[in-house]
């Protein structure tokens, strides 16, 4: 088991290095000057040169990469061009806000998706299965940012029932999801964010339940005369592991993929930070945010892998 953990982690290192190269070089594809944010349009050439030098943008790109990586490895992601605040601080603050959404959305999606998927899987081919499968396909085909807009139209424009944007009275500082005054701001984004995972989780649960149903041990249990409800309990328990894995992946996916929904709801999370830094060409923030989000994704995948291996010995040997 330990060697497995070691092997998987070792395997993740070259990927992490590759990811860092991609993150770093991505932003140099960008047209335009990263420093136009700072300088007025009619800044003289010597001022431009001075600023380029001060921010280290006058060095060859490979040198910039090595310096950047070196600092990143020491936990220094540089400072934002726009605000001069440390990138790590910017990214961690926004990640916290995104986590707030995903930590509510993913469990909600799990409960709903798993229940419906399980019902469908227990009655394969019946009408309830068709309804659930059909709805699940709709879930995975939804443009979720559109769902967000529709919810805003329904609950914030037509009837002014829920706030449309932001994090409320105090912003993220002091935001308390257990107090209604704050929590009301989360309702629409969390529902929107949960929509796609519900579909995915329902589909994978249905598949897992159907697969377990066909396994020999279920037939044996039935042959032994176990009551149908007891059999189903066994089936559901056995189908849980792969679905939990999917849920873990969903968490990593939503952390990096919430940019559209955060844009719709102006939620000050990591996706919002990302789109802002793209618009502003705030290169250090852009690099840092992409890197951290990709690393979170790599890490969740790794954890899910390892957890699965722990639960299911068959994977361990693979």
């Amino acid at each position: 088991m330990l060697t497995l953990v070691g092997r998987r982690i070792l395997y993740a290192i070259p990927i992490a290095i590759g990811v860092s190269i991609v993150c770093f070089s991505l932003v140099y594809l960008a047209p335009g000057d990263p420093l136009q944010l700072l300088l007025p349009p009619d800044a003289p050439a010597d001022a431009v040169a001075m600023i380029k030098h001060a921010y280290g943008f006058d060095r060859p790109i490979p040198v910039q990469y090595v310096l950047w990586l070196w600092r990143v490895l020491h936990g220094d992601f540089g400072v934002s061009i726009a605000t001069r605040r440390p990138v790590l601080l910017e990214v961690s603050g926004s990640l916290y806000n995104t986590c707030m959404l995903t930590l509510f959305a993913v469990p909600i999606a799990f409960v709903i998706g798993y229940s419906f998927g399980a019902i469908a899987g227990c009655f394969p081919g019946k009408w309830i299965d068709r309804v659930v499968t059909g709805t699940a396909v709709m879930g995975v085909s939804l443009p979720n940012y559109w769902v967000g807009i529709v919810l805003v139209i329904a609950f914030s424009v037509e009837i002014i029932a829920l706030p449309a944007t932001g994090m409320g009275r105090g912003g993220s500082a002091g935001f308390n999801p257990l107090v209604w005054a704050d929590a009301q701001y989360m309702i629409l984004p969390v529902i929107t964010l949960a929509m796609v995972p519900i579909g995915i989780l329902a589909r994978s649960t249905r598949a897992a339940v159907a697969e377990v149903q066909g396994l020999d041990f279920v037939t044996t249990l039935r042959a032994k005369g176990l009551s149908e409800s007891a059999v189903i309990r066994h089936v559901l328990k056995n189908a849980m592991a792969p679905v939990l894995a999917v849920m873990g992946l969903q968490f990593g996916y939503l952390m990096g993929g919430s940019i559209l929904i955060e844009t719709v709801f102006t939620w000050p999370g990591s996706g919002f930070l990302l789109s802002k830094s793209i618009i502003n060409r705030d290169i250090p923030v852009l690099q840092g945010a992409i890197l951290v989000l990709a690393m979170i994704f790599v890490a969740t995948n790794l954890c899910v892998d390892l957890l699965q291996a722990m639960i299911d010995p068959r994977i361990r040997r693979a």
Partner: protein, 533 residues
């Protein structure tokens, strides 16, 4: 509608109740209230001195926390706004050396941290922005102030309350430039050992507001500086909260739901709905225009007749309709309320004349490539407006090819100038015409040819060049005003831009907001505002 109002009313009172209980504890006194502003900026403007986010940054953050030597008079809505004394009580030009300005500093001013304001602070601030060897030098502020330091050469202390600023060339309008350069506290910076990031979260200036709470990217909360030197401008509200909300529909939603009570630039389409909900819509003329800046080196616009044709081709009233009356037609660089407006040639809509001019110039169809952004500060509604522009230009014989890009890419074009982008015949960059140098001289004078300055298309003509020179060396205000008027008229005669509209900068205010006077300026005074509970 009544139903909706009723709901809104409840929502508003609920929201205010929450805000009140959350932000203003027991000591809440009558009158004041909390003013919550939705800015169009994408982020909280930088708080450590000169802000970013364009003039909106100066409007809400720069001039709230800090003062400059020179201040804009923002107390009237019915007359053009001009500069008045700020941290300097007066200034004059050295009678023998026209490159040396003497600024007499205000006595008895205190920084938010309690230290007294003196000439040393001013000298120190210029070091912070210019002198790379000084300990207080801050790269970001160096960058942000480049546009204001073009003509700054050196500064010296005469006595504790007098400084002299030497300029590189003679510029009679130099004090205008000093209105954008805000002063930060040397005391606080030294206490913080020049940690400018720490300074940004606990700024200290001399302005009418102090920073009470700063949540990066989300909100900045300001409270009145009760010791402000100008007793008339001590803020009448208890608290001003600034929120960045770059998306127009978000700002509307926030106002309707009671999250904010003061909204910058509501989208024209939403104004009827806002009025229906009882909101106040205020707007006023101010020195802004939305033109096309043209290429005078290559392409059709090198021909004055083509430029005139483009100006005759536009029916500007259609643009005003499109914008729901939140703009006025622009026939010359400045809005008509400007003191140096004069009697410029007005290219009123005349499609036949436009077509004839194109024919005369031998440009039919007249192929032009125009660069425009999808959004951006001061760009108003670039997509619909440019669609309209295109249809009107094509109606008289132009063939328009748009290069659509994001705001930063357009800025890059604007900065690099016509030499690098010779195939672009014009770009749609809205302009701040606050001071006469930026408004009139920079677009036409040779000294400002891009990339060194904002004469993007390398315009040159003998008459404008002479007038511009005369303005810069004329220290008599009346004679200078006459010269400025002349330059404005000359620019019209040469059709140096395609003029489209002047924005009226609409704002939407909750009915609970009182006392706001919208001045004819990019900047606004928030201090007289009170908010009902």
């Amino acid at each position: 509608m009544t139903l909706r109002n009723g709901r809104l009313g409840r929502a508003l009172s609920l929201a205010t109740a929450i805000t009140a209980s959350a932000l203003i504890p027991a000591q809440a006194n009558a009158g004041g209230g909390t003013l919550t502003v939705a800015m169009t900026a994408g982020d909280i403007p930088v708080t450590a001195g000169t802000p970013d986010q364009g003039f909106e940054g100066l409007r809400f953050v720069g001039f709230s926390i800090y003062d400059a030597l020179v201040r804009w008079d923002l107390s009237h809505s019915d007359k053009p706004s001009d500069i008045v004394p700020g941290l300097a009580t007066s200034w004059d030009i050295d009678p023998v050396n026209h490159k040396r300005w003497i600024f007499h500093l205000r006595d008895g001013v205190k920084w938010h941290d309690g230290c007294p304001f003196s000439a040393d602070d001013v000298i120190w601030n210029f070091g912070r922005m210019n002198d790379q060897k000084s300990p207080q030098f801050y790269t970001q502020q160096y960058a942000f102030n480049r546009g204001y330091m073009t003509n700054f050469d050196s500064i010296e202390k005469i006595d504790d309350h007098t400084v002299a600023i030497n300029t590189k060339f003679v510029e009679s309008l130099f004090p205008y430039t000093m209105s954008y350069v805000v002063m930060v506290s040397k005391c606080r910076a030294e206490t913080l050992k020049y940690d400018w990031q720490a300074f940004a979260s606990t700024p200290s200036g001399t302005g009418p507001y102090r920073v009470d709470r700063f949540v990066p990217h989300e909100r900045l909360e300001l409270v009145p500086n009760k010791d402000y030197w100008d007793k008339n401008r001590i803020p009448k509200q208890d608290r001003m909260v600034l929120l960045p909300m770059p998306e127009a529909s978000t700002r509307v939603a926030a106002l309707l739901s009671g999250q904010v009570n003061f909204v910058e630039a509501p989208p024209p389409d939403a104004i009827p709905r806002l009025k229906g909900a009882g909101m106040q819509i205020v707007m006023n003329t101010y020195p802004h225009n939305w033109p096309y800046i043209l290429n005078f080196v290559h392409g059709p616009f090198t021909d004055e007749r083509v430029r005139k044709a483009a100006n005759y081709a536009l029916n500007r009233d259609d643009f005003v309709d499109l914008l729901g009356g939140t703009a006025i037609p622009d026939y010359a660089t400045m809005p008509p309320t400007t003191p140096y407006y004069g009697h410029p040639k007005l290219y009123k809509y005349d499609a036949e004349r436009a077509a004839a001019l194109l024919k005369e110039a031998g440009c039919l169809p007249c192929n032009i490539t125009l660069a425009m952004s999808t959004s951006g500060s001061g760009q108003m509604q670039p997509l619909p407006m440019n669609e309209l522009l295109k249809s009107q230009l094509e109606a008289v014989g132009f063939k328009v090819d748009f290069k659509v890009m994001d705001w930063n890419s357009l800025i890059e074009i604007g900065r690099s100038g016509v030499v690098k982008y010779e195939n672009i015949d014009g770009y749609n960059g809205s302009r701040a015409l606050l001071d006469p140098v930026s408004a009139l001289i920079k677009p036409v004078a040779k000294a400002y040819w891009s990339p060194a300055g904002s004469n993007w298309g390398h315009f040159y003509s003998d008459d404008t060049e002479q007038t511009a020179q005369a303005i810069l060396t004329e220290f008599d205000p009346d004679k200078r005003l006459a010269l400025l008027t002349k330059l404005h008229e000359e620019e019209s005669a040469h059709a140096v831009m395609i003029w489209v509209v002047h924005d009226l900068n609409p704002r939407a205010l909750s009915p609970k907001v009182h006392g706001f006077v919208q001045s004819q300026n990019w900047f606004q005074d928030m201090t007289p505002i009170t908010v009902d509970p």
